[in-house]
C-alpha cells in the first residue's frame, strides 16, 4: 500500500482524524482570517465604485462567496453522504453531518445579503424568481438534513437517514446553478468564469477571489472543529476519548 493510501485509511480512524484535525485547525483558521482581512481591504477600500451601482456593488464580496459556498458545501456533504451510505465509514457520516450546519449558515448569508443587495438595485428585498426560490429551497433541504439527523435517538441511524435526504436533495444543485440560464430571472447571470474572460475588471475581481478562498478555509477550519466535537461525543466510552478528556485543560 502506498503512502497516500495508508494516510487516507488512517484518516478514516476517529482517533487519528481527531489528532490530524487538531494539528491543521490553527493553520486553517490563520489562513482564513488573513485572507478575509486582505479581501475586505481590497473589496471595501481598494476596489473602485461600480459605474451603475455605486458602492452598493460591494455587497458582492460577501454575497457571492457565501452563495458559492452554499453549493460547494452541499456538494461535499452529498459526496460524503454517498460514501457514508455505501461503505458506512463513521468519518464520512461525521463529515457529512457536520458540513450541513455550515452550509446552512452560508445559504442564510447568501439569501439575506442578496436581499439587502436587491433593494437598492432591483427595488425589492424579495421576488419569487428562479434563483432566489431555488436558493431558499436549498436552505430548507439543509434544515431538513439537520433536523432528520437529530430526530433519531441513535446518531448513526440519524446520519444514515439524513445522508439519504442529502443525496436526494442534490438534484437542487444544478437547478440553483442553471436557474439564471433556464429561466428569465431578475438575478443576473454569470459574471465570473473559470474559462474565458470574466465580465469584471481585475481591481474588482481579485478581492472577490480572495474572499472565495477565505470562505473555503473557514469551512475547512469549522469542519475540523465541529468534527472533533462530534467524534468525542460519538466515541464516548472509548479509551482514546477518555485519554483526550484527561489531558484537555478544564476550559478546553
Amino acid at each position: 500500500m502506498n503512502a497516500f493510501k495508508l494516510w487516507y485509511h488512517k484518516l478514516g480512524s476517529p482517533p487519528y482524524f481527531y489528532l490530524f484535525a487538531g494539528y491543521i485547525r490553527p493553520w486553517l483558521w490563520a489562513i482564513a482570517l488573513l485572507l478575509t482581512a486582505v479581501g475586505l481591504y481590497g473589496g471595501l477600500v481598494l476596489a473602485p465604485p461600480d459605474y451603475q451601482q455605486g458602492d452598493a456593488f460591494r455587497i458582492i464580496y460577501v454575497h457571492v462567496p457565501a452563495a458559492w459556498m452554499s453549493l460547494f458545501i452541499y456538494g461535499v456533504m452529498a459526496v460524503s453522504a454517498f460514501i457514508a451510505v455505501i461503505w458506512k465509514p463513521k468519518m464520512a457520516e461525521v463529515l457529512a453531518m457536520e458540513s450541513a450546519p455550515i452550509g446552512a449558515a452560508f445559504t442564510l448569508i447568501a439569501l439575506v445579503t442578496g436581499s439587502l443587495w436587491g433593494k437598492p438595485t432591483w427595488g425589492t428585498y424579495w421576488t419569487w424568481d428562479a434563483r432566489l426560490t431555488s436558493e431558499l429551497v436549498l436552505l430548507f433541504i439543509y434544515l431538513g438534513v439537520i433536523g432528520l439527523y437529530h430526530a433519531f435517538e441513535n446518531p448513526r441511524q440519524g446520519a444514515r437517514a439524513a445522508s439519504f435526504l442529502a443525496i436526494i436533495g442534490a438534484v437542487n444543485l444544478p437547478i440553483v446553478h442553471y436557474s439564471v440560464v433556464w429561466w428569465n430571472t431578475l438575478h443576473q447571470g454569470t459574471t465570473v468564469r473559470y474559462f474565458g474572460p470574466s465580465d469584471i475588471v481585475p481591481s474588482m475581481l481579485w478581492p472577490l477571489l480572495v474572499m472565495t478562498i477565505a470562505t473555503k478555509f473557514y469551512y475547512g477550519a469549522s469542519l475540523m472543529d465541529r468534527s472533533r466535537v462530534a467524534l468525542l461525543s460519538l466515541e464516548r466510552g472509548k479509551d482514546w476519548v477518555s485519554e483526550v478528556v484527561r489531558t484537555e485543560r478544564a476550559d478546553g
Binding site: 455605486g54 458602492d55 452598493a56 460591494r58 450546519p101 469549522s222 478528556v245 484527561r246
Partner: protein, 59 residues
C-alpha cells in the same frame, strides 16, 4: 472616514450585509465552542463517576 462609512449613500445596505456575514459565521464558531465545552464537561463527569465506582477506603 465619514465618506467611507457613507458608502456613497448605500450604507444602509452595505454595512448590514457585512454584519450578517460576520454575525452568522461567528455564531457558528461560538456554537461549536459551547458544544465542545458541554461535551467535555459531560465526558469528564462520566470519567469521575467511573473512578468513584472503584472500591475506596471510606472516610
Amino acid at each position: 472616514m465619514d465618506k467611507f462609512l457613507a458608502m456613497g449613500g448605500y450604507a444602509a445596505y452595505v454595512w448590514p450585509a457585512y454584519a450578517v456575514f460576520f454575525a452568522v459565521l461567528a455564531g457558528n464558531v461560538i456554537a461549536t465552542a459551547l458544544r465542545r465545552r458541554r461535551v467535555l464537561r459531560e465526558l469528564r463527569g462520566r470519567l469521575q463517576r467511573q473512578g468513584a465506582r472503584r472500591p475506596r477506603v471510606s472516610a
